[in-house]
Symmetry: C2
Subunit: 234 residues, 2 copies
């Protein structure tokens, strides 16, 4: 059955937005009363049928909630300073969503060449990846904030930073993760985090970690961290 996503689950009858609605009616040519599967993006899957077809939306009638919960929500939080190439960030969001990430914050850091990010486009990519991999959890994507502000405000219980600073090996930091808590990893841009940024993070209870023996690109480091978190902590 085709899987759809609705952000609008506030009422009993979720609504498909313009894009999802277009896909249902004009691409798949579904009609009134046709059955669909629908995710609320919070890990829940519902079975329902199309009740009302409007010009730019569809109203769904829910018949059944499946006891299937995507536990990606318990996954981890990535705080990443974006690469210059937005393509690399788009791939990262797609792959991390497929692999089950909890949420992503974009960081404005000293050596990052990209100062803005188009969240709406990245969200559309995440929705598509979520549906494609038959997941029901939609990762939260947070707007870009300065590195120092993130460090001051982060509420993650366990926080790691990928750097060269007496880092814990993968085996060591995996043992320090806790699947019942919020685990977060900070990953720098092409030029890495600055010395001042790393020191600030370490002062605020962030542990320095490595993601392997070799230098990884920003987006590869994010995907590698996501796969390790996914395997060991979910």
């Amino acid at each position: 059955m085709h899987l759809f996503y609705s952000r609008d689950f506030s009422q009993n009858n979720p609504v498909l937005d313009e894009k999802e609605s277009h896909h249902a009616i004009h691409v798949l040519r579904l009609q009134r009363n046709d059955s669909i599967a629908i995710s609320d993006g919070a890990g829940n899957l519902f079975h329902g049928s199309i009740q009302e077809i409007n010009k730019k939306s569809c109203v769904i009638h829910i018949n059944e909630q499946k006891p299937l919960v995507d536990n990606s929500a318990k996954g981890f939080h990535l705080a990443v300073s974006p690469t210059k190439s937005i393509d690399r960030m788009e791939w990262m969001v797609e792959k991390c969503t497929e692999l089950g990430i909890g949420s992503i914050t974009f960081l404005k850091s000293r050596y990052s060449e990209r100062k803005e990010i188009n969240l709406a486009k990245l969200e559309a990519i995440a929705v598509s990846a979520m549906k494609q991999s038959q997941r029901t959890y939609m990762p939260a994507l947070f707007p870009m904030i300065p590195f120092t502000e993130y460090i001051q405000r982060s509420t993650a219980s366990i926080r790691f930073i990928a750097c060269q600073h007496d880092s814990l090996t993968v085996d060591q930091w995996i043992k320090k993760t806790d699947k019942t808590k919020n685990n977060s990893i900070l990953i720098g841009p092409e030029g890495g985090f600055s010395e001042e940024e790393v020191i600030l993070a370490l002062q605020k209870d962030t542990q320095p970690i490595a993601l392997g023996s070799y230098r990884l690109r920003t987006e590869t480091a994010a995907i590698a961290a996501c796969q390790l978190m996914n395997h060991f902590t979910v």
Copy 2:
């Protein structure tokens, strides 16, 4: 120090090919007697200097072989049926090289829409990823062959196929890998392998495996497998 790659280590004085030579002389503006680091693509790192600058090549004099060996060579073999979009295969080659893959064979399988692959372009991407991640092992990329031929001819000691067929979980198949042997994983195209292909593989001592609880795209499955192999078996 800048890292270069030479395929031509047959003599004592390795030669940089046209592309590597262009990068050294015209981009980095290196000159005769300048020091460089050079990899033979087989896991070995050498320190040397530029001895001779020709129009389309450079001859290097080796001063020292570093006792550093990239053990990716012991990593694993991926046999993958390419996606329709060549972009996705290019990203896969880049990421798998960064994460330390041993070799890749491209498979012509029943449901794969792509019947040809430009190996030269993928090799250039792998060289670039190898240098970027400061590795010295260049994965071997093998030309496309039919699935049935691969299964008949494969000499891998341990062979897995990603499929839905009573598959081993990640924890189960990781235990069956052996870091002293050749481990290989077969990953299908968008439509997966056909029932006949899976049955043929299983008859030839290939074990069915899963790469997680959710459906992954071809290139994501390859990257996830590579990261797991890299972590557990190298």
